[in-house]
Subunit: 435 residues, 2 copies
């Protein structure tokens, strides 16, 4: 009678056992219903009688929602603190004491009359990731850090402080609550006198990940489940001033006019044409216009407009600006109107995400059978600051009709769960790959 | 020895004597220096420490200036009254009791921070005409009526009341003095309860004449002394509403936008192109624009602009409006923006001057060696109301650079005297010709 083989001598069994942790982790799924019910619970904070939710950063509703989030984080066993900038940070220990944390999260503050999804999806997904790991008693080598950033909508307060690049007047800006950011940070439990201490250095985090709804409607339109964010676009702003000559609209013949509004109108059209004149995802917008004196019977003598250009590449922003400038010079000459560009300070450089993290996100999504698309984020996010100090990845899920910053915002529970699962799998992959 | 001929048997002497009155009247000239000094005297009423003059209708300065004018008129022997609408009316008797008056005049109220010429030139010229006739002891067959209209700048109050077409809410409009027109008329010595009684009927006046500065700079540019006004243009106003979709300027791709400001900009350009697309003196103006929400980082979802069209012909106004509408439909389709036109009530029909009076004005000017040009008045004037009830003529003199409604307004003493002399000669010609 042949001697019975040990189980590990059976190559199939051996393979199965060796692959078991991987199979187990790749089949790990967040609880979609629990995730959705948390989104609904969070939506109650700041809900008004008229159905709108007011939860602007630093408001009473913001503070109440944060307390609720902190209680949830503590219940998950996270060691939870509020840093000097008002960020909520919950840590789950890792098995290797030498490794730096993998951080992930988003924000729960909202624009006035905003929606229930926006930063809430990434915040609740972060809790869901922890709870799913807890439920399966899975540990990671790296510590995990859940970060709920303070005042994203107003000024990216929390993430800017963490990236160490708060502007000189950042604490003075007053939002719709009537509190300055400085007063607000104190209301959240921060300490403006020590806010600089929250800055992290490069190397302090192994990686940062953010899940967020996609605000352009591209994923929904193209039936794509997961957006793999290549970076957060850079933004430049100008004020453009048109100086003609105000004159009587009845007595001044058409050929004797120096109509500042006509020149500004040609400029608005030229901005659109320039942005559309070459292949790419650059956008240029004129959102603001003021004509003086602004009477129906006076030819406008002065017009001031805004100009905003966004792209993932500084060079493309420059190229588009120069195209617009060129067209503008022609307009100035033919309209006999002086046109001046004043560059404004409120600009942000493009922030690229980490290429290897992009690949991990795409790999995780594909393993789940989800369709992915590489795309820039046209909107600003906490991840753009975090990219300055850590290898950063960002995951988008569809938002119905691309609507955001509105009570009409909606992301399906399936899409939220897909995004959370991709977040979870990416964390696990990075935990495995990185040291 | 031949019998000496009687003087009237000498045909040359006879001709001279018969022509004497005509020669005398055609060489009659106003006193240029006196005219200019009256303009300067009148300019003192409302003069501020900063050099600007505030003499809006119904203000204390307006009332003081009117008192001064009344005293001058009385000194000239005019029978002077203030009618229920606040118009100052001074009458000089005519030799034929059966004839209706030839009226002439203008206004002395001013826009806020206006200039010294505007309606003051025609008002002081009217006094000068009377004084010149007095100085030469010349009588006319027709009674002469000098009219200084109340509140021209705000609402054409005096002339509208006289033409019997005051709007239903005309007395309620409040101007920059804080007085309603009703309160103002009472301040001037009028009586709002009896204001309808000032309305004249067709046939009550033989003619009405107004001298005014030309506010378009055309006479000055073309080196022409006298403008023979063909009529006062009609004015139509619309509010144009562009409804697109407000969206995030960062996340909404260029090809997914419904940019209300882009559509409005194309409209402003189209209005200009349409107005220039056929020969004529029509003008079209967009003077007012408002974009919502009006932030540099939001694609405007709604824009409202004004649209004004002026021309001497109703048909041309219609034609231009339809051209603009046609272009606008294209813009709406290609921009995916809804465009609606709302016609406003504040419109005036074209008011044509009397052809035979136009000829008399041109003839009088040419007899003095002055260059003339037939032209419409792009601005509104009291004459447009008077044209509804009397054969009306209007004389323009150059205004430097076409500037009006500004402290920079200037008309040379020579031009003022030329205009006054043409006014005088036209009055005398009409007095002779008309019954």
């Amino acid at each position: 009678m042949e001697h019975a083989k040990k189980w590990y001598q059976n190559p199939i069994l051996l393979l199965l056992v060796l692959l078991l942790p991987t199979l187990a982790s790749s089949q790990l799924k967040v609880d979609q219903d629990r995730l959705e019910s948390r989104i609904f619970e969070l939506a109650k904070f700041g809900l008004q009688a008229n159905g709108e939710t007011e939860r602007v950063a630093y408001s009473d509703a913001d503070i109440a929602a944060r307390k609720w989030v902190i209680s949830k984080m503590e219940a998950l066993g996270l060691e939870t603190t509020v840093d000097f900038a008002g960020n909520i940070i919950g840590t789950r220990k890792g098995s290797d004491p030498n490794l730096k944390p993998i951080a992930f999260g988003s924000h729960i503050d909202r624009v006035p009359n905003g929606g229930n999804y926006d930063g809430c999806v990434g915040s609740m997904a972060a809790l869901e990731v922890i709870q799913t790991l807890n439920d399966h008693a899975m540990s990671t080598k790296h510590p995990l850090e859940v970060i709920i950033f303070s005042d994203e909508e107003g000024s990216l307060m929390g993430s800017r402080a963490m990236a160490g690049h708060l502007g000189p007047n950042a604490l003075e800006v007053v939002n719709s609550t009537g509190y300055s950011a400085g007063e607000g940070v104190v209301r959240l439990g921060g300490d403006t006198t020590r806010i600089k201490e929250v800055a992290r250095q490069k190397g302090d985090l192994t990686a940062f990940l953010e899940l967020h709804i996609e605000q352009g409607g591209i994923l929904e339109k193209e039936h794509i489940d997961i957006g793999v964010v290549e970076g957060i676009v850079g933004i430049r702003w100008w004020e453009v001033e048109f100086t003609g000559f105000a004159n009587h609209a009845g007595t001044t013949p058409m050929n004797a006019r120096q109509d500042a509004l006509l020149a500004a109108a040609k400029f608005v059209v030229a901005v659109n044409e320039a942005a559309n004149s070459f292949v790419g995802r650059q956008v240029a917008t004129v959102g603001k216009i003021k004509a003086e004196p602004g009477a129906p019977n006076v030819i406008p003598g002065k017009v001031v407009t805004s100009l905003e250009i966004r792209d993932l590449s500084k060079e493309v922003i420059e190229k588009l600006y120069h195209l617009i400038k060129e067209k503008t010079e022609e307009i100035a000459q033919t309209s006999h109107v002086k046109i001046e560009f004043h560059r404004l300070d409120t600009t942000a450089d493009p922030a690229l995400t980490d290429l290897s993290i992009q690949k991990e996100i795409a790999k995780a999504a594909k393993a789940m059978g989800l369709a992915t698309k590489q795309m820039p984020s046209g909107a600003g996010h906490d991840a753009q600051d975090m990219a300055l100090i850590a290898p950063t990845g960002m995951i988008f899920v569809p938002s119905k009709g691309g609507i955001s910053h509105s009570p009409k915002e909606f992301t399906s529970p399936e899409d939220m769960a897909n995004g959370s699962n991709v977040l979870l799998q990416t964390i696990l992959a990075l935990d495995k790959d990185l040291n």
